[in-house]
């Protein structure tokens, strides 16, 4: 498991980001499904769930790595708010045991921003992914912000990878831990970092809760692209969860 730690003593990692804070939490409230309280796992059961997944290697992190899921690299584009939820949609495919297909964050962020290089919010990406789907990277390279790629063929291909069920995950420890332990990857936005990354496992070390994250800065960052958030840094300010993606 990843051992690249970011805690309260760490500085802010530098790299391409793009998360623009909490604005979307109010902007998109009407169209959101909130993470239901009924799914909250009691705090005194967290360790049992987490330890079981670490021992059996059945966390999102373990299952997706075993299936060959690959870390993406947003390069110099401020599209973390697309890379993280699109990566989570790929993970949802794997968790459903559908064929793993690399999907293009630029095919979402490009149309959402009118092909501009700007930051944004996970909810913006999810709204688009729910309405239009995500084009496979084979047809639309991950970082190509180019409207000429928005071809009829790409549009049709994208419809095969539509997020049909998604939720907003409030930025609380209870919600994040419960979602991830239920194998729902949380695409969390962190204001301290100005960045959105995917939370793929919960683990306990020395009695403390840690979140294992998948970043979108390529495999040379952290431990092969993964890191661990500890302390106050681990709690995102907002998050989205692609729960079900069109099976293909």
């Amino acid at each position: 498991m990843a051992e690249f730690i970011l805690d309260d003593a760490s500085g802010t990692p530098s790299g391409p980001t793009g998360f623009q804070g909490m604005y979307a939490a109010t902007e998109y409230r009407d169209s959101l499904t909130e993470f239901p309280d009924a799914l909250l796992i009691p705090r005194d059961e967290w360790k049992d769930w987490a330890d079981q997944q670490e021992q059996e290697q059945s966390s999102i992190y373990h299952l997706c790595r075993a299936a060959g899921w690959k870390i993406k690299n947003q390069q110099d584009i401020p599209y973390c708010w697309n890379f993280s939820p699109v990566g989570d949609a790929e993970k949802a495919l794997i968790l459903q045991n559908n064929k793993y297909v690399s999907l293009s964050p630029a095919s979402v962020g490009g149309p959402v921003t009118s092909y501009k290089r700007r930051g944004g919010y996970g909810q913006e990406a999810m709204e688009y992914m729910a309405a239009n789907g995500i084009v496979p990277s084979a047809l639309w390279p991950d970082t190509a912000i180019d409207k000429r790629l928005h071809t009829p063929q790409a549009v049709e291909a994208g419809k095969q990878y539509r997020v049909t069920e998604w939720m907003r995950c409030p930025g609380t420890e209870e919600h994040c831990v419960s979602a991830v332990l239920r194998r729902m990857p949380v695409s969390g936005g962190f204001s301290w970092w100005g960045h959105q990354v995917s939370i793929v496992a919960v683990r306990f070390r020395n009695g403390q809760i840690e979140f294992v994250i998948a970043n979108s800065w390529g495999e040379t960052w952290g431990d092969e692209g993964y890191g661990v958030l500890r302390g106050r840094k681990r709690i995102p300010d907002d998050g989205v969860i692609p729960r079900v993606i069109t099976a293909s």
Binding site: P36, A38, L39, E45, D48, W49, Q52, Q53, E56, Q57, S58, H62, L63, A66, L95, Q96, N97, N98, K99, A138, L139, W140, P141, A144, D146, R148, L149, T151, Q153, A154, E156, A157, K159, Q160, Y161, R162, T164, E165, M167, R182, R183, M184, R243, V244, T246, A247, S248
Partner: protein, 274 residues
């Protein structure tokens, strides 16, 4: 070759339409890998593969024309029953066409790549159109064609659809509502690496993909989903009223059980295949 030359001399005139294509400046565009759209006669242009669910008849004097805008290879199995020639479009052909009125007609094919199939012996042949750069079996388009004598009906064609045989092999759906409060034990079973290993080993394969799914009843199945998985879900949907449940299909038999623990689930799977 002589036979082809004679047939072409009698029935076919090709006019190659010279077409000049303006080169597109694309210095800053990443090339898009092309996946061929292959069109068989009588079938609308498709992106998805066509299963051999239709049979065409090919008489000796008629042509069966396959077109695509992307390069492809057309293979015949067995190869001795037909001859295949290739050309580039746009192209105008005057001939009798397998999907036509059985009279001479002139057609213009605008696709960039053309393959023309002619019968050279009687029998059933499978045609496989393989796009260049294909990565998956599903990229291949297949079609069965009966090569017959002129005026002869297709051999052994039953006007009534034959019964569909039950799919061979094991298929499994672990049905659970992802937004329900499932127990740790049930979730542990559903995401158990041991269960996954068993399913990967024992389930039928669609290409390389094992035919089992973690399945939310809210899921929308895409056009690309395995037809057997779709059929299985259609069959078990009325019974899947108390998830988490597992539906185990072995041949034509389907059983639905509750999911409790990893050990129980593995025992159910083992029992089903014995």
């Amino acid at each position: 070759m002589r036979l082809i030359t004679i047939i072409h001399a009698i029935h076919i005139w090709f006019w190659i339409v010279a077409t000049a294509f303006n080169s597109v400046k694309a210095d800053d565009v990443t090339p898009i890998p092309a996946k061929a759209k292959v069109t068989f006669p009588g079938v609308a242009p498709i992106a998805a593969p066509v299963l051999p669910d239709a049979v065409s008849v090919l008489e000796p004097s008629s042509l069966f024309v396959v077109t695509s805008d992307e390069p492809f290879v057309l293979l015949a199995s067995p190869s001795r029953l037909v001859t295949i020639t290739t050309d580039t479009g746009p192209i105008k052909i005057r001939a009798v066409f397998a999907d036509g009125s059985k009279k001479l007609e002139t057609r213009t094919y605008s696709a960039k790549h053309i393959a023309i199939v002619e019968a050279s012996a009687e029998g059933r042949v499978e045609l496989l159109a393989i796009p260049n750069g294909f990565t998956d079996e599903s990229d291949i388009t297949r079609r069965l064609v009966d090569c017959v004598k002129a005026g002869q009906p297709p051999p052994d064609v039953d006007p009534v659809d034959p019964p569909i045989p039950a799919p061979a092999g094991v298929r499994v759906l672990m049905i659970f509502e992802t937004s329900a409060n499932n127990s740790r034990e049930a979730m542990g079973a559903i995401y158990s690496p041991k269960v996954k290993e068993w399913l990967d080993k024992n389930c039928a394969k669609n290409g390389t993909q094992p035919e089992w799914r973690r399945f939310d009843p809210d899921i929308v199945l895409s056009a690309n989903e395995s037809p057997e998985i779709k059929s299985l879900w259609d069959a078990v949907k009325p019974k899947a009223t108390s998830p988490p449940q597992v539906a185990i299909a072995v041949g034509g038999n389907v059983d639905v059980h509750p999911i409790t623990t990893e050990a129980d689930l593995l025992a159910l799977l083992e029992k089903a295949v014995k």
